[in-house]
C-alpha cells in the first residue's frame, strides 16, 4: 500500500505532467478560463489517460517489447489513445444519452492532447506492472487536473485584477504559470526516505 501511495504522490506532485514535464500546455492555457470547465475537462482527460494507459500497457507488454517493435511505439500509442477517446464517448452515450448530450454542449469533443501520449510513454520508462501502470496514469492525470483547476482559479482572480494592458491575457497567464511551476518545484525534494 505504501508503494502505491508513493507512486501516486510522485506522479501527482513531484513529477507533475504539466509543471514538471511541461506536457499538455495547450489545454492548460486554453481551457482554464473557468474553474468549472477546468474540473470537467480534467475529469474527462483523467478518464481517457487511465483507459488508454491500460491498452498501451497491454500492447507494450505482449506485442511491442517481445517482438522488438519499439520503433512503432508512438504510432501504436496514438492509435490506442484515439480508440480510447472514441470508446469513452461511446460508453457515455450508451450509459446515458442525456448525459452525453449535456457534456457535448459544455465540454470539448476531443479530450486528448500531448499529455495523454506523454503519460503513455512515461509508463514504458517506468516498467510497471498492470495495476501500477494504471495507478501511475490515474495519478498523473489527477495531477494534470489539479493544476488545471488551481490555474483556472488564479485566472478567474486575474480577470478581476488591474493588470497593465500590455500584460493582460496570455502574458500574465504565462508568468502565473511560471510561478506555479516554481512552487511545484518545492515538491521535488520529496523522496521515499
Amino acid at each position: 500500500m505504501k508503494d502505491v501511495i508513493l507512486l501516486m504522490v510522485s506522479a501527482t506532485l513531484v513529477n507533475n505532467v504539466v509543471l514538471a514535464r511541461f506536457l499538455g500546455l495547450c489545454s492548460f492555457m486554453g481551457v482554464t478560463t473557468k474553474v468549472d470547465t477546468a474540473i470537467g475537462m480534467g475529469m474527462a482527460t483523467t478518464f481517457v489517460i487511465t483507459v488508454s494507459s491500460m491498452g498501451d500497457w497491454a500492447l507494450e507488454t505482449f506485442l511491442l517489447a517481445p517482438f522488438d517493435l519499439g520503433y512503432l511505439r508512438t504510432v501504436t500509442f496514438i492509435l490506442v489513445i484515439a480508440a480510447a477517446v472514441q470508446f469513452t464517448e461511446m460508453v457515455i452515450r450508451k450509459v446515458s444519452p442525456a448525459l452525453f448530450r449535456t457534456l457535448g454542449i459544455y465540454l470539448p469533443l476531443i479530450t486528448t492532447n500531448c499529455a495523454v501520449l506523454g503519460v503513455a510513454l512515461l509508463l514504458v520508462e517506468g516498467r510497471y506492472g498492470f495495476v501500477d501502470s494504471t495507478v501511475f496514469a490515474f495519478a498523473s492525470a489527477f495531477g494534470y487536473s489539479l493544476v488545471m483547476v488551481v490555474f483556472a482559479g488564479l485566472r478567474e482572480r486575474l480577470a478581476l485584477a488591474d493588470v497593465p494592458a500590455i500584460m493582460a491575457g496570455p502574458p500574465i497567464g504565462f508568468i502565473t504559470a511560471g510561478l506555479l511551476a516554481l512552487a511545484f518545484m518545492g515538491f521535488s525534494g520529496i523522496s521515499a526516505n
Binding site: 446515458s96 449535456t102 469533443l109
Partner: protein, 162 residues
C-alpha cells in the same frame, strides 16, 4: 414541454449552439464544436477542432421554453455550473475511481496482473452501472436540460460573447 425546475440564482455555464430544426414547439439545436486546447491558430490543420458532422449530429438536443427562433440562428444556452460538475463527475469520476480502487484493493490482497486487471474491469462495470443510475436521477430532475439564455448578436464572435 417545460424547462428544468432549477434555481435562477445559480451561475450558469454558457455555450453557443445553432438552431438546426423546428418541430412544432420544440427547437432542436446543435452545439458548436470546441477543441480541448482552443489556444492555437492551426486548429483546422491538427484535427483537434470539430469531430465531424456525424459527431455533431449525435449531440443535437431539444431546447424547451425557447422563444421563436429561426433555423441557422445562433443562441447561447446555459446550465447551472453545479449541474455540469455533477454530470461530468457522474460520467467520468465515478467509473474511474471505482476501477482504480478495485485494482489497488486486488493488488494489496496479493492478486497479480491478471487478478488486478479483472478487478479493474469489474470496478469499471460497477462504476458505469452506478453512473447510469445517477444520470437517470439527474435527468429526471431536469438537471441535464439546458435553458435558453440569449441570442448571439449577428456577426458576433461567440468566443468573445461568453
Amino acid at each position: 414541454m417545460t424547462g428544468p425546475d432549477l434555481s435562477i440564482d445559480e451561475p450558469l455555464l454558457e455555450s453557443v449552439a445553432r438552431v438546426v430544426a423546428l418541430e412544432g414547439e420544440t427547437v432542436w439545436l446543435e452545439p458548436e464544436p470546441k477543441a480541448s486546447c482552443s489556444g492555437c491558430m492551426s486548429l483546422a490543420m491538427c484535427g483537434a477542432k470539430g469531430g465531424g458532422v456525424r459527431a455533431l449530429a449525435a449531440r443535437r438536443f431539444p431546447l424547451p421554453g425557447a422563444p421563436a427562433l429561426k433555423i441557422g440562428e445562433r443562441v447561447v444556452v446555459g446550465l447551472p455550473e453545479g449541474s455540469v460538475l455533477r454530470a461530468s463527475a457522474t460520467a467520468y469520476a465515478v467509473p474511474i475511481v471505482l476501477m482504480v480502487g478495485a485494482g489497488i484493493t486486488a493488488q494489496t490482497n496479493g492478486a497479480g496482473d491478471l487478478g488486478g486487471a479483472l478487478a479493474m474491469f469489474g470496478g469499471l462495470a460497477v462504476g458505469l452501472i452506478i453512473a447510469r443510475l445517477i444520470a437517470s436521477r439527474l435527468s429526471g430532475r431536469g438537471e441535464l436540460t439546458p435553458r435558453f439564455v440569449r441570442r448571439v448578436a449577428s456577426g458576433g464572435d461567440c468566443s468573445r460573447n461568453l
